[in-house]
Symmetry: none
Subunit: 223 residues, 2 copies
C-alpha cells in the first residue's frame, strides 16, 4: 500500500525530482494510503491537519460550515486531484478553515503534515508547489462564490442538476431535496419550490428515487 | 519618482535580494509610481493587467462584479499592502477576475506585468512570493465570503445599533465595544472587527463617545 502511495506521489508531484535524497526519504516514510467511507469527515477546519492529499478513487467535497451548522459547498475533488487545504495548518498565509468529506467511498494518498512542512521549509520548489495549488483552490472557490452571489436560483439549480448528470452518467439525480439544498448552500424549501417549477415547465419529474431530467434541451436553456 | 518606487520595492519585496543583477535591472526599468483619483478604476478583471502593486498612500477596494452590474466588496488595501491580483494575467493558476478601484486619492508603485512575468519565470523566489501573496488574498476573501454567506453577525450588529438609535433618539450609540458585546452575548474582538468593517463601508464612525451612525440608508440595508 505505501509503495503504491509513493509511486502516486512521484507521478503527481512535479517537485519530486527536485528533492534531495534525505527529503525524499522523509516524505516516503510519511506516505499512507487511507480509505474513507461515503459521508465520512476527512478534515475539519482548525481542529485537524491531515497533510497534503492525492485522490486515488471516489470523490471528496470541500465546504464551509457556519456556526449555525449551515454548509456551503466550495468544490469537489476527483481521481488525480490534489488537496492542499487539508494541510492549511502548515501554510502560514491560510487563515480560514474548510471542511472535507468523502462523498463516495474514497481512497486517498496522504503525506503527513509535519513531514510535508519540514520539506517545504527546506525546499523552495515544494513550498512554491503548495502555494500554486492554493491558487488553484482559490480559483475553484471563486467560481462557486460567484455562482452563489450572482446567479439566480433557477440557473444555479439547473447547473447543479446538469453537473450531477454529467458526473454520474444517469438522467436521474438520486438525491433528496434536503441533500441538494445542503450541497447548494440553500434551504430545502427553496429547492422544493424551484423543483416544482421545473416539473411544471416539463424539465424534470420527481419520484422517490430522485429527480429525473426529462427534457435536456429545456434544462440546457437555463444554464 | 521612479527612484522612490525602486526604494519601496526593495523594502517591500523579500525576493529583492535573491535577484540577479539582470533581473533587478529589468524590474527597475519597469517600476512606476502612479496617482489615482478617488473613485477611479485601476484594474478591470480580464481586460487589463497592470502588474504587481504596492500601495504608497490612500486606499484601494477589490471587488467582484456581476454581469448585471452588482458589486461585492472583497477586501481593501492600505499603505504598505501588496496587490498581486492586479497581475493575475501572468499567474497561470488564477482564472477569475476581480476589479480594483481607488477608494481615496491614492499613490501606487507598480511593476509592469510583463517584466514581472519574465522575472517570475527565471526566479523561483519571485514566483513563490507571488503565490504566497495570492494565498493571503484568498484568506482575506474567505473572511468576506463567510460574512456574506452566513450573514449572521453583521445583521445582528446592525439590528442592535438600529434598535439603540430608536430607543435613545440619538444617532450616536454611547456604549463601549465591551458593552455592545455583552448586550449581544458576543466577544469584544468580534464586535470590534465588525465595527471596523462598518467603518470601512461608511456606515459608522467610531469615537471616544461611542458609535455614530453616519449612513442610515446603508445600515437599514443590512437589517
Amino acid at each position: 500500500m505505501a509503495n503504491e502511495g509513493i509511486e502516486r506521489c512521484r507521478k503527481s508531484f512535479p517537485f519530486w525530482e527536485k528533492l534531495t535524497n534525505e527529503e525524499r526519504e522523509l516524505l516516503e516514510r510519511n506516505v499512507s494510503v487511507v480509505k474513507y467511507s461515503k459521508g465520512e469527515n476527512i478534515h475539519s477546519g482548525g481542529t485537524s491537519c491531515k497533510g497534503i492529499m492525492i485522490i486515488k478513487s471516489g470523490s471528496l467535497r470541500t465546504y464551509l460550515l457556519s456556526e449555525g451548522g449551515r454548509e456551503v459547498t466550495l468544490y469537489r475533488l476527483y481521481n488525480g486531484d490534489v488537496c492542499v487545504l487539508s494541510a492549511s495548518c502548515v501554510l502560514d498565509y491560510i487563515t480560514f478553515d474548510v471542511f472535507v468529506d468523502a462523498e463516495e467511498d474514497s481512497e486517498v494518498v496522504i503525506i503527513g503534515a509535519s513531514a510535508f512542512q519540514a520539506v517545504m521549509n527546506s525546499n523552495i520548489y515544494v513550498e512554491c508547489y503548495a502555494y500554486k495549488m492554493i491558487a488553484e483552490s482559490f480559483s475553484n472557490v471563486m467560481w462557486a462564490v460567484q455562482q452563489i452571489l450572482f446567479m439566480s436560483f433557477d440557473r444555479r439549480l439547473a447547473n447543479f442538476l446538469y453537473e450531477e448528470m454529467k458526473k454520474t452518467g444517469s438522467d436521474t439525480v438520486s438525491l433528496t431535496h434536503e441533500q441538494v439544498a445542503k450541497y447548494m448552500g440553500s434551504a430545502r424549501e427553496v429547492v422544493t419550490r424551484m423543483l416544482k417549477y421545473f416539473v411544471n415547465e416539463g424539465i424534470v419529474e420527481l419520484s422517490r428515487g430522485g429527480i429525473k431530467i426529462i427534457d435536456m434541451h429545456k434544462l440546457k436553456r437555463l444554464l
